[in-house]
């Protein structure tokens, strides 16, 4: 097996693909699984930036929300083809990400974080107050999208497989990227940006490229979200949402790709389960976050190692 397609990854994919076959599983859990995998995939694409390149983006919610709106606006006007929706999301998110990454990537650290945050807030404010796109209510009550003519993505099973297919593609893309020469340069930039520059790499271009890639993957996740939920609201891109993406990356473990997926799944399930028992679940999430930062800064995968498991594959 190649370094990209490992037995372990295939096994995990097969297990996930078998999930709808579990007898007696309420259909609701398939939608929860969809949300978890989607959140995991977003955290993973953010990990390309935070974990591998050392850039903390606080504006990923805007990529996510823009992708969702690109789909929702098309579907609201009767364009139900999945491929048209994905294509328009790529165009919209790509154009926006090009601008953001061009201006934000020359900056490091907190300046990069705040630039992405403020760009995202501009997008949020625009959609929040533009009545054409539903203002604060967003776009609600969308019809089912179609894979192609006559094949609607209507049942929870079909929606789940759509999410799973996206995750598999996104994971393969990320894995290819981080094992490639390109990925090595990203790690070099994270470790010492000046030295990478002295070695002749165009650091700005590398950072822009990875920023674009991460944004597009997140935008695609946004594009399929309204297909499952039938709505897109500005809440998808408020800045605290970006914070939750970062939280998922941290929970899972920086620079591991698999970790952030687990982190996203953990976070989504935690939010869903705790909120169905108590209405103060944000306190639980906040405390979990504090505990993780204080006691297991390497995240779930780092914790695994503490427990005596074989060391997980190190960064890149």
């Amino acid at each position: 097996m190649s370094r990209v397609v490992t037995w372990r990854a295939l096994l995990a994919l097969a297990a996930l693909a078998a999930l709808p076959a579990v007898p007696g599983l309420p259909r609701y859990y398939l939608l929860l699984a969809f949300d978890s995998l989607l959140f995991g995939a977003i955290a993973m694409s953010l990990d390309l930036l935070i974990g591998y390149t050392g850039l903390v983006s606080f504006g990923h919610a805007a990529f996510y929300g823009l992708g969702a709106y690109a789909t929702a606006i098309l579907m609201e006007r009767g364009v139900l083809s999945l491929w048209a929706c994905l294509g328009s999301s790529v165009l919209v998110v790509g154009a926006y990400a090009l601008v953001v990454s061009y201006f934000a990537t020359p900056r490091r650290g907190i300046y990069f974080a705040l630039l992405t945050l403020i760009f995202a807030e501009v997008v949020y404010t625009f959609f929040r107050y533009t009545q054409t796109f539903g203002g604060s209510d967003g776009i609600q009550g969308l019809p089912d999208a179609e894979l192609w003519r006559g094949v609607p993505i209507d049942t929870p099973e079909r929606k789940y497989y759509l999410g799973l297919a996206y995750l598999a593609l996104a994971y393969a893309t990320c894995r290819v990227v981080v094992t490639s020469h390109f990925g090595r340069v990203l790690v070099a930039i994270r470790e010492n940006e000046d030295r990478a520059r002295f070695l002749g790499y165009s650091v700005h271009r590398y950072k822009m490229a990875v920023c674009l890639l991460s944004a597009l993957l997140t935008g695609l996740a946004g594009a399929i979200y309204p297909i499952r939920s039938a709505f897109a609201t500005p809440d998808l891109m408020v800045w605290t949402e970006s914070g939750e993406f970062i939280i998922s990356v941290m929970i899972g473990g920086l620079g591991t790709l698999v970790g952030p997926i687990l982190g996203g799944v953990f976070f989504t399930i935690l939010r869903d389960k705790v909120s169905s028992y108590v209405d103060w679940y944000f306190i639980v999430i906040g405390v979990v976050l504090i505990v993780i930062v204080l006691f297991m800064p390497k995240g779930l995968l780092g914790f695994r190692r503490l427990l005596g498991f074989k060391q997980w594959r190190a960064t890149a």
Binding site: F103, Y111, W280, G286
Partner: protein
């Protein structure tokens, strides 16, 4: 001339009042940033806690003035406990961890308040209601008091940092905490007390602004972004810069809102910020290369 007196002047005063209060908030943020290298995401929640602590104290004592003293003290103590329990173990780690930690703290504070007080909008009545003729217009007394109180506090803080031994120690810690430690100062205590002070300042700003705005659990989320913008605009870790930038943002916001709807105002403020970050990331008065 009528336009000047009836529209422009009140708006300018509004901006000045808001800017001064914003300065109190941003000042605490910038000192903590300089000291701990942490962008404190929970600062907006400390601001919010100040207003709610005020509501409770006013409920007990029926006095705004008692609350104005008690609420910052309560929040200051809470800040000291929080710092010692959660931020202290993170001093030597990457700033990212502090960012995430304070994000978690913000969630806990916000939800805690919503559980205790409910999510409704609350109001605090101003302690006096009259208005005074000034410069050919009448202006509410409370806002004038707000401007005077914020200015006096800013002056007091400036005197503290330039004229007292404690203030000089804090500034030294911002410059080089390790060296200060070597000189025999208990740096950890300095950190904790400074954090408590910054929390108390945020609480004071929250309570002072409460009669002008409304009080609700999310109120900090909107203010903190503005405070971040102020801190960056003024230059990370530059206290004077923060105050100047707070006044600039306060004035810009109230002047813009003469000609634009709130959405465009927000976008214009963000636009200013983006341009500053791109052209001059160290802000008005920041040192070059701080965390760049």
């Amino acid at each position: 001339m009528d336009y000047l007196v009836a529209v422009l002047l009140p708006q300018l005063l509004h901006g000045l009042v808001f800017g001064a209060a914003l300065g109190l908030l941003a000042l605490g943020l910038t000192v903590i940033f300089g000291l701990l290298g942490v962008m404190n995401f929970a600062h907006g929640e400390l601001y919010m806690l100040g207003a709610y602590a005020g509501i409770t104290v006013i409920g007990w004592t029926h006095s705004f003035w008692v609350a104005l003293v008690a609420a910052p003290l309560i929040v200051g103590v809470l800040g000291a406990i929080t710092e010692a329990a959660t931020l202290r173990p993170l001093y030597r780690r990457e700033p990212l961890y502090g960012l995430i930690l304070t994000f978690g703290l913000a969630l806990v504070f916000r939800e805690g308040v919503r559980q205790i007080y409910g999510g409704d909008m609350r109001r605090i009545l101003p302690p006096f209601t009259g208005s005074t003729p000034i410069l050919g217009m009448t202006y509410p007394d409370y806002r004038l008091f707000l401007l005077a109180a914020s200015s006096a506090l800013l002056l007091a803080i400036w005197l503290f940092f330039t004229r007292t031994r404690a203030g000089i120690i804090v500034r030294a810690a911002v410059q080089d905490a390790e060296m200060l430690d070597g000189l025999g100062v208990d740096v950890r205590r300095v950190f904790t007390l400074t954090f408590a002070g910054s929390a108390a300042l945020a609480a004071l700003a929250g309570l002072l602004l409460a009669p002008v705005f409304t009080v609700y659990p999310q109120m900090g989320v909107e203010m903190i972004l503005l405070a971040f913008i102020v801190v960056i605009l003024g230059g990370m870790g530059s206290m004077g810069g923060s105050v100047v930038a707070a006044l600039v943002i306060g004035l810009a916001q109230s002047l813009f809102s003469l000609w634009m709807n709130p959405q465009r105002v927000a976008i214009a403020i963000f636009g200013i910020m983006i341009v500053v970050l791109i052209v001059r990331p160290r802000g008005f008065f920041g040192r070059e290369g701080v965390l760049e």
